[in-house]
């Protein structure tokens, strides 16, 4: 059942711009560094001995913002596909359970974001090589800066999908997303328990892996709360 739902959800997002945005996110994040390095490469290379590390930090300064906003946009798009034509009713009328409908939406979004993170890794590496930052390419670090924020952002994905699928007025999830990006921008000042801080990979122990673990754990909890609430609500 879930396989067929996934196929139908992937069909529904065709030509709606979701694939375009999935690709644009990581390319945009690296493109900003292309501008940054294009304008003042010599200055930036002087800032640190470890050119690759400094370049990755620069890229990573935009990754959390792009992820938080990207999640808000994709979840809201996903919900609008059903909202706009009142298709929730028709979808739920099919012989599928509401829990699987929700699971399928979440899975599609998780796959899109995962592909986005993979693309981020490839583009980051490609531009780094182009910049000629040094012979030893730190593949492990690049992968870390690409995939860790993704796992740390899973709670945000669960929360935003929950809000977007139960609110009829999509202004609410978008506004929550704007609050999220402000939190992500100020993550340096936030306490460790706030989920919007986690994609920045900062915490008081200075161990990014903790954010990944927390992200997966709390992400599952928020997903379960969201799916139960979604299943209990009436479809209007």
């Amino acid at each position: 059942m879930i396989g067929k739902l996934l196929t139908s959800d992937f069909l529904k997002i065709k030509r709606k711009g979701l694939w375009f945005l999935t690709a644009l996110g990581p390319i945009g994040v690296v493109a900003l560094q292309m501008v940054n390095y294009g304008v003042r490469k010599d200055y930036l290379l002087e800032q640190s001995e470890d050119d690759w590390g400094y370049y990755l930090l620069n890229v990573h300064s935009f990754t959390p913002l792009a992820i938080v906003l990207g999640i808000a946009i994709l979840t809201s798009f996903m919900a609008s596909i059903e909202n706009e034509t009142n298709a929730w009713k028709q979808l739920i009328a099919l012989p599928v359970s509401k829990l699987t409908v929700y699971l399928s939406k979440f899975t599609v979004l998780a796959i899109l974001l995962f592909l986005s993170s993979t693309l981020l890794m490839l583009v980051t590496m490609a531009y780094g090589v182009f910049l000629d930052l040094g012979d030893s390419i730190p593949i492990g670090e690049i992968a870390k800066f690409s995939y860790y924020p993704y796992f740390a952002a899973l709670p945000i994905l669960a929360l935003q999908l929950w809000i977007a699928s139960v609110c009829h007025n999509q202004g609410i999830p978008i506004t929550v997303g704007i609050f999220g990006v402000i939190f992500a921008y100020l993550s340096y000042f936030l306490p460790d328990w706030m989920i919007w801080k986690w994609p920045s990979l900062m915490n008081q122990w200075d161990e990014p892996i903790i954010n990944v673990m927390l992200g997966i754990g709390i992400g599952i909890v928020l997903y379960i709360i969201g799916t139960i609430d979604f299943a209990r609500r009436d479809v209007k």
């Binding site: 711009g17 900003l32 798009f77 609008s80 402000i182 100020l186 000042f189």
Partner: protein, 245 residues
């Protein structure tokens, strides 16, 4: 024109607009109380209010103001996008141009209301932190009003995209694509002054030249903000004239 405005106003009252406008001062309070970076400045000769103002205005004007003004534009068009509202509205004896202008005016009014509430939150942050220096009223007004003027072109583009797309996410995506680069753009002396989405920050940044009416020179204001406004407003206006409903 008056009746269109009041009709828009009635629709707005049922659109859960109040929580959206309150988002501005809430985020202002949050930023003001959360960030204590510039504490190093306290004790120097700078007016204490500036310490809060600089850090609050940075985040507020750089990210929050451009993004939320796009949401206002989408909310204004929400009723029309639901179940053929455009048809019903345009079947009335109104011209499309007037509808567009009325919607635009109302969004700008909402942004202004939010800016004034944000001013209150600046004051509240000062009271909570117990500032004793005189409140720099003139500077703050300049920044509040300047930020409002800088959103003129942004709101015009957002109204255009909101009329075009049915979903909230699409205009928001356009908004995000243009707003995020302004974090880099405002750092650049060469490109910053020409980037429309960086203008709210440049207009609200209290560190600027205080001799002028605003914190940015007149020619920059006229070319970038004024030119951007004309381009986006006329684009949206003409698009709406031809839009099939």
């Amino acid at each position: 024109m008056g009746s269109i405005l009041s009709a828009e106003w009635f629709k707005l009252r049922k659109s859960k607009m109040v929580p959206l406008i309150l988002a501005g001062p809430i985020i202002g309070l949050f930023i003001g109380l959360a960030s204590n970076t510039m504490n190093g400045l306290i004790g120097s000769e700078i007016n204490e209010w500036y310490v809060s103002l600089i850090s609050m205005n940075l985040t507020y004007a750089l990210l929050f103001l451009p993004l939320i003004s796009g949401v206002f534009a989408s909310v204004i068009c929400r009723y029309e996008h639901q179940s053929g509202g455009w048809k019903q509205l345009l079947a009335l004896p109104v011209t499309r141009g007037k509808v567009f202008v009325a919607k635009y005016l109302l969004i700008m009014l909402l942004v202004l209301a939010m800016q004034v509430l944000y001013l209150c939150s600046i004051y509240a942050v000062g009271l909570i932190k117990g500032y004793t220096d005189p409140f720099p009223m003139e500077i703050v007004w300049k920044s509040i009003f300047g930020g409002w003027v800088a959103t003129l072109p942004l709101v015009a583009l957002q109204l255009w995209t909101s009329v075009m797309f049915k979903s909230f996410a699409a205009p928001f995506a356009v908004n995000v694509i243009f707003t995020l680069p302004s974090i880099l753009a405002v750092n650049s002396k060469r490109f910053g002054p020409y980037y429309p989405w960086g203008q709210p920050f440049l207009m609200m940044n209290v560190g600027g030249d205080t001799g002028e009416v605003f914190f940015v020179p007149w020619d920059q204001l006229l070319t970038v903000v004024g030119g951007g406004f004309l381009l986006f407003f006329l684009g949206g206006y003409l698009y709406f004239q031809r839009k099939a409903v």
